[in-house]
């Protein structure tokens, strides 16, 4: 640096340059930390992310559904006055949250006593793995084990489209809830399951489902649509309103 540039400029640039550089470097470091945190976000939640599928939550689900009849995609008695339809994607985190918190509460309060039944309507909007999971749910339904499989899968959820909802996870979960593997594999590849998925997608469009989970609560007193993993109070209020 030459001496002829003037003391003012030299003082300004010598203070400024490093400061701006430091701001840029610090910004890069902060972005790096944020990206690292973001990328590792969902992995800590104990979801199986490929590899050897270790299934958790089986006992919890067994206790949740104990003594409640499952028929096809329906949980609860066929003559229950209130019907709750749950539209959900097996890969959607809010659906897993609903499965962990909301659904056990609904089962306890309304399904086990016979006030309401719940029907699981799988959607596959997140990706190809969602489709795999949805078809497996129908196949499990043909063995009257749909809710057992779905609730266990939700408790083993990983990140979207990260590969956790693999054949391996599905079969391990199926084994854990007493589903016949051979029949499951035949049924989830069948046209019957494909048609069920198409029918539920059409029903979702008809019901104006824009996000998952969406609960459609209907009974003698009308129909209420509740979107999101809402507080139990909202769902309870809807059940009370439509039960007539």
């Amino acid at each position: 640096m030459s001496m002829g540039t003037g003391t003012g400029r030299a003082a300004r640039t010598s203070r400024r340059g490093p400061l701006v550089l430091a701001a840029v470097v610090a910004a890069a470091v902060v972005v790096g930390v944020l990206v690292a945190l973001s990328a590792s976000g969902g992995d800590g939640d104990g979801g199986a992310s490929g590899g050897t599928a270790t299934i958790v939550g089986v006992e919890e689900v067994r206790a949740e559904l104990a003594g409640v009849p499952v028929s096809g995609m329906r949980l609860g008695r066929a003559d229950a006055p209130v019907r709750i339809e749950e539209y959900a994607d097996l890969q959607c985190p809010f659906c897993a949250q609903a499965a962990a918190v909301l659904v056990p509460e609904i089962v306890e309060r309304y399904v086990r006593p016979g006030t309401a039944s719940m029907t699981f309507r799988p959607l596959d909007f997140i990706g190809e793995d969602s489709r795999r999971g949805a078809l497996a749910a129908y196949a499990a339904g043909y063995q009257n084990r749909s809710w057992q499989l779905v609730e266990v899968l939700f408790r083993n959820q990983g990140k979207e489209n990260a590969g956790w909802l693999s054949d391996e996870t599905i079969l391990a979960a199926a084994d854990a809830v007493g589903i016949d593997r051979e029949r499951l594999n035949a049924d989830r590849a069948s046209d019957r399951a494909e048609q069920a998925l198409a029918a539920d997608a059409a029903a979702a469009r008809k019901d104006g489902v824009e996000s998952t989970p969406t609960f459609v609560v209907s009974g003698p007193g009308g129909t209420r649509v509740i979107a999101g993993a809402q507080d139990i109070r909202q769902l309870a209020a809807a059940v009370e309103e439509v039960r007539g």
Binding site: G8, T13, A23, S38, D45, F125, A162, S211, T212, A227
Partner: protein
């Protein structure tokens, strides 16, 4: 101090303020939507449901919409304040915002396979903020260079 530089600085601050207010509106909306139980009310783009419900919508438990809200609030503050620290701080905030928005946009396209229009709007606002804050820092450096020779001249004995 160069008069032209100050006027341009004023305009840059005004533009930065406008970008920050727009960003506050977008991130405020997304924060509100998220707080209402993850139900996306954005009818314009279908991808919002997937993006807002994805595991990537949080960093260490903090929704990214809230991070956006904070970043735009800081940007607004740096636009209002005229000091050197505000100029450098604004550049820093805009760079962090744009960098992280870039990553999130990659996540949307590459991993979640769904694009949320509001998130794209926010990422664009952050990119504009980088351009504005960088120009502001560069401009104040340039005017400092102009000031220096003038100071030399004033030290000369008058004829």
């Amino acid at each position: 101090m160069s008069v032209g530089g100050t006027a341009l600085e004023g305009r840059l601050r005004l533009a930065l303020g406008a970008v920050a207010v727009a960003g506050l509106a977008v991130s405020g909306y997304l924060t509100a939507v998220r707080a209402s139980g993850g139900t996306p009310a954005c009818a314009i783009a279908t991808g919002c449901a997937q993006v807002q419900q994805s595991a990537y919508s949080e960093v260490a438990g903090v929704p990214v919409a809230v991070l956006g809200l904070l970043a735009y609030a800081v940007l607004l503050a740096t636009a209002i304040l005229g000091r050197e620290a505000a100029r450098i701080g604004g550049l820093f905030t805009a760079l962090v915002g744009a960098g992280f928005s870039g990553w999130l946009t990659y996540v949307e396209i590459g991993i979640i396979d769904a694009v949320c229009l509001w998130c794209v709007v926010s990422a664009s606002l952050m990119a504009i903020a980088v351009a504005l804050t960088a120009t502001r820092v560069w401009l104040s450096g340039a005017s400092a260079r102009e000031v220096a020779p003038a100071a030399e001249v004033s030290e000369r004995p008058l004829p």
